[in-house]
């Protein structure tokens, strides 16, 4: 048997993968060196972004990326999980299969299409309907205060939700369907209702996979560039209001890379890329730690 060959190939593949990730990291680090040397760590917590004056700070972009993606995943996880539970456990077969297919198709729509739709359809609705409604009902919260532009953080969040819900639903549904039917039958035979079976047997067994689905979706939200860029307003400001415009790491890199003329400017943009890279790693790592803490002592086989 050429078993050793197989293992060698696996080792090589893993090694190559590490090499690529490490290479990207080093390349980014080298590219951002002018900016790191000029601003040091204060780059992380200053919010000036003035290419003409040569002043660069990453805070508004970090803020924009974190807020847009975290709020989006919180909403998408709730909606998506409910939809996945319905599709996997309760929908009749003639409905579940085509709906599932439709959702998988939605996950494959290019983000620029979402961006266009967000700009031309969603943002007017946010300006004329959703925004005023939120302001009228929850306007006492700083989150929903101030003028409503249409393009801004809220629109970006809604577009992100729309883009990542299909991922959450599709992956979670597969995870739920992978729970063996005999487990469901065992619980039913004890006199449980379908909902009790879902809550006490299916969801606990699928917990890890559902969490994985959310991490996957969060990764997509953090890195999403084109759709966010089209609707978030692209202003490097930090505002408590979700109606205000914002900016994300990915968006500013995409928008300004071609205009970056000075070494420091280019370095600052590359450093934003480095931050995005590190942020993705941190988000993933934290998710894993959280999952381990949640699953407690019981490990799934």
């Amino acid at each position: 048997m050429a078993g050793w060959l197989f293992f060698l190939a696996m080792d090589l593949a893993c090694g190559l993968f590490l090499l690529v990730v490490g290479g990207i990291f080093l390349e980014l680090l080298a590219g951002s060196w002018p900016s790191i040397r000029a601003f040091g760590l204060s780059f992380l917590w200053t919010s000036a972004w003035d290419p003409v004056a040569g002043k660069f700070g990453a805070l508004p972009f970090i803020y924009g990326t974190l807020v847009s993606s975290l709020v989006a995943i919180a909403l998408a996880a709730g909606v998506g999980l409910l939809a996945a539970i319905y599709l996997a456990e309760f929908a009749p077969g003639w409905l579940g299969a085509p709906l599932g297919l439709l959702i998988e198709l939605l996950a494959a729509v290019p983000s620029v299409v979402y961006g266009l739709w967000g700009l031309f359809v969603l943002s007017p609705i946010v300006r004329s309907q959703i925004g005023p409604f939120l302001q009228a009902t929850l306007g006492f919260l700083p989150l929903f205060s101030g003028p409503i532009y249409g393009v801004g953080m809220l629109t970006a969040i809604l577009i992100l939700v729309l883009m990542i819900v299909p991922t959450v639903v599709a992956v979670s549904r597969d995870v739920l369907l992978a729970v063996p039917d005999i487990q469901r039958e065992s619980m039913l035979a004890l006199g449980a209702t379908r909902w009790e079976v879902t809550r006490r047997v299916v969801l606990p067994a699928a917990r890890g996979g559902i969490f994985g689905a959310c991490v996957l979706a969060l990764g997509r939200a953090v890195g999403e560039t084109i759709a966010t860029t089209m609707v978030i307003g692209n202003r490097p400001v930090i505002s408590a209001s979700l109606f205000a415009p914002g900016y994300t790491l990915a968006s500013v890199i995409a928008n300004e890379f071609t205009e970056a003329t000075t070494t420091v400017y280019l370095g600052a943009l590359t450093e934003l890329g480095l931050l995005l890279f590190v942020l993705s790693l941190i988000v993933n790592g934290l998710a894993r730690v959280l999952l381990r803490a949640l699953s407690g002592g019981l490990r799934q086989a």
């Binding site: 039913l188 006199g191 917990r207």
Partner: protein, 265 residues
């Protein structure tokens, strides 16, 4: 020989569970044909027959698990203490709490500890058990299933950490914790070694004092050893039903004789 319709158990015994004209379908496929059968209180009734003859389908009709499969349906009656479990307004979960079931493969819930597995069917309906009530139920269930001594020091371990035979007894404890009146076991020993099997057979005869037991089995010796009555199914029809002794020593039908003597099946 079944001229009078229902096949009845001997006169002195009371009937716990009975079916009348029971037929079961999977879509177009008719898996059971017009079964009439009486199951005596506090007895062990074995259901035997070759693979695919409808044994599982029959017991799944008893506790309304048949309808869980898509496209499956039932005709006729299943009477529990004389009341039709398919009657109007009868709630399937309520029937299943009175008629417990143990499956062919041990199916402890993998995300639950041994203790949580035992009480899994109890804290349904939103009623919360107190700590002491829970401990009592766990101990009683595990003792009834002859598992207590082996696991009493590891109740917090996952149910799946036990051996196959122990897992199957855990499933019996889980079914008993709900305090059913009837216990259905669908080939509970088919994946177990001889020692675990003997253990469970012994257990069944003890449990028959308090429960009515229906045991599906492929194993002729097991039916002969562990049951009071035996029903022989063939091709979805009930061929013969009677006291186990009579079925094995003096069967009335030619097919039964061929089957129990191992000439086919």
């Amino acid at each position: 020989m079944f001229a009078s319709g229902a096949v009845t158990v001997s006169g002195s015994m009371t009937v716990k569970l009975a079916c009348r004209g029971l037929s079961a379908y999977f879509g177009q496929l008719r898996a059971l044909h017009d079964i009439n059968l009486d199951i005596a209180t506090n007895s062990v009734t074995a259901v035997i027959g070759p693979s695919g003859c409808g044994k599982s389908t029959l017991v799944r009709c008893f506790n309304r698990m048949h309808e869980v499969v898509g496209g499956a349906r039932v005709e006729g009656q299943v009477l529990l203490d004389g009341e039709d479990v398919y009657g109007p307004g009868v709630d399937a979960p309520a029937v299943r709490r009175r008629i417990g079931m143990v499956f062919q493969r041990p199916t402890p819930f993998p995300t639950m500890t041994i203790e949580e597995n035992v009480v899994a069917g109890l804290s349904l309906d939103g009623n919360r058990l107190s700590r002491t009530a829970k401990e009592r139920v766990v101990e009683r269930g595990l003792r009834q299933a002859a598992l207590w001594d082996e696991v009493k020091d590891q109740l917090g371990k996952p149910g799946t950490s036990l051996s196959g035979g122990q897992q199957q007894r855990l499933c019996i404890a889980r079914a008993l914790a709900v305090e059913p009146e009837v216990l259905l076991l669908d080939e509970p020993c088919s994946q177990l070694d001889p020692i675990s099997t003997a253990r469970i057979e012994e257990l069944l005869s003890e449990l028959a004092a308090d429960y009515t037991i229906v045991l599906v089995t492929h194993n002729m010796q097991q039916a002969a050893r562990a049951s009071n009555f035996t029903a022989f199914l063939l091709g979805g029809k009930l061929v013969e039903f009677g006291e186990t002794n009579q079925i094995f020593t003096n069967p009335a039908c030619r097919e039964t004789e061929d089957y129990v003597t191992g000439r086919f099946g």
